[in-house]
Amino acid sequence: MNMKTSAFSFRGLGALTWLETKIFLREPLGVIGSVFVPVFVFLAIGRTFGGRMTGAEQGQRGLVGPDLAVFAALLISISAVLSLVTIIAIYREGGILKRLRATPLRPLTILTAHVLVKLLFTAVTVTLMTLLGKRYLPVDIPIPWVAFTAATLVSTLSILSLGFVLASVAPTARFAQPIGTIVLYPMIGISGLFMPISQMSAPLRVVARLMPASYAVSLMRGAWHGDSWLSHGTDLAALAIIFALSTAVAVRVFRWE
């Protein structure tokens, strides 16, 4: 076996992903925090402030309206990333990463398993949110939840790659969470959800354009409105570029212990 095939060997990916899924489910707080709380908050905000929406009102801007779903999805995505950053930091600090690395599992396999677990729970949460939203919120419009969930997953993947860079620089688990919070949550503020990016000051606009959230919001909005994927080619390309660049950086700076 040569280096090339060994570097891309995913032996054990299925077993590890399944195991990490089971382990995640064993931590009640984690499941409640990442699945039930976002869905509940979404429903509560929607019921409290939502009012009845009709197709004609969909163009409205503001927190309460169709963007609520995008906002909630972005929060779910970011909380998944934060959770991953924390898990990686804990695994590194505890020597778990190192122990796994001393097996035929390749580093990429270990990280991919964690990404898959996070994507799985993000998909479950977003699906629950849209389906329950449709059932319990006074919304008359058809919700394209498959496209919306897919858009959320693509966005999550791009933000996750940024998370890996954070996970690499965070020295301990205790730092990982605050660093992640400081970098990731303000990103929502300049994502275009609350204020159109074109109306921001020039420096802020540049930062917004460099961060995945702006493209994620545009893509998720489009998916919610039933736009075709092709019309969001720029968003997809930007998210892919951010993913590629951050992954390349993360691979270089990632520390296993």
Partner: protein
């Protein structure tokens, strides 16, 4: 087959590794023969773990070459990891993974694996199969890690401070297990700061201090080479004993202390003369003991400081 006629499964030449300005390992060269228990011994911080992790391919050395089973640990890491077993110092597993799940995952990663259930029984933790990692005691975790190091029936097993934190009874059980590994034809490479462990378990040891190998040989040969002096304690009521034995060739000093005569000699060659004297002079003896220096004393002599510091 004598040891030196066996193939060398590990060869290290000129290995050096530094962290910042600290030189953890300096110019270490050693080799390990197939089927032996080889120990890297020295105090904490001597460079044992760094040396071992360079050999396992977990760390990249600054200079030097390493070969394990004919493979380079850095370019052939995946095929090598299939054939070796590794137990790391201070490793952890996922808090909520169960013992059986860990064994199952590890089994799935290797091309060959032995019966996990039987292995757990052998290690005395079969009853803990369903227990989560976080609920295990230190000794149980250690046994699980040893099980994980053996699950793929490896040709070479690396054990880093394997009995740290274990009580004496558990320690002896683990020693028996390690001897069992060797008796099945495997090679064991271990580190320890416990000289008793090295003495009882290892066929050969390398004494390492401040990142350098000071000497390599079997524990008995190291003691004979560096600490040949012996203390002999003879229990007798014969009043002539201290005087007569003190005149035997090679005896340095002879002192009576209560029921015992304590003799000091610079080498073991004195023994025959002593026994001859006892027989010739018809000295009635109820006990005859020689106190052999330990690796601990060898270490002190070679490095000028105790291994415990």
């Amino acid at each position: 087959m004598s040891l030196s006629a066996r193939p060398r499964v590990i060869e290290v030449a000129g290995l050096s590794k530094h962290y910042g300005s600290t030189r953890a390992v300096q110019d270490v060269s050693l080799h390990v023969f197939q089927g032996e228990i080889f120990g890297l011994i020295g105090p904490n911080g001597a460079g044992k773990t760094t040396t071992m992790e360079c050999i396992e391919g977990l760390r990249v050395p600054d200079t030097g070459s390493v070969s394990v089973l004919g493979l380079d640990p850095f370019t052939d890491v995946v095929p090598l990891l299939q054939r070796i077993g590794v137990q790391l110092q201070e490793a952890q597993l996922q808090k909520r993974i169960t013992v059986a799940e860990a064994i199952g995952l590890w089994s799935s990663l290797y091309r060959t694996s032995i019966d996990g259930r039987q292995l757990l029984e052998q290690l005395g933790i079969a009853a803990k199969s369903g227990a989560r990692f976080m609920t295990l005691s230190g000794g149980q975790k250690q046994r699980l890690f040893i099980a994980l190091a053996l699950i793929n029936d490896p040709e070479v097993v690396f054990l880093d401070e394997l009995t740290t934190g274990l009580d004496p009874q558990a320690r002896r059980a683990i020693w028996d297990l390690v001897r069992g590994i060797r008796d099945r034809g495997k090679t064991v490479f271990l580190t320890t700061h416990l000289m008793e462990e090295a003495e009882r378990l290892c066929d050969r040891v390398a004494i390492i201090d401040h990142g350098r190998v000071v000497d390599v040989d079997s524990p008995a040969a190291l003691v004979a080479r560096h600490c040949p002096e012996r203390t002999i304690v003879i229990t007798t009521t014969d009043d002539r004993a201290a005087d007569l034995l003190g005149r035997v060739r090679g005896v340095e000093s002879s002192v009576r202390e209560g029921a015992h005569v304590i003799l000091r000699a610079p080498s073991v060659e004195v023994m025959t003369g002593l026994i001859g004297c006892l027989a010739q002079e018809r000295i009635e003896v109820t006990d005859f003991r020689t106190i052999v220096p330990t690796l601990e004393e060898v270490f002190l002599k070679l490095t000028g400081h105790s291994v415990r510091q």
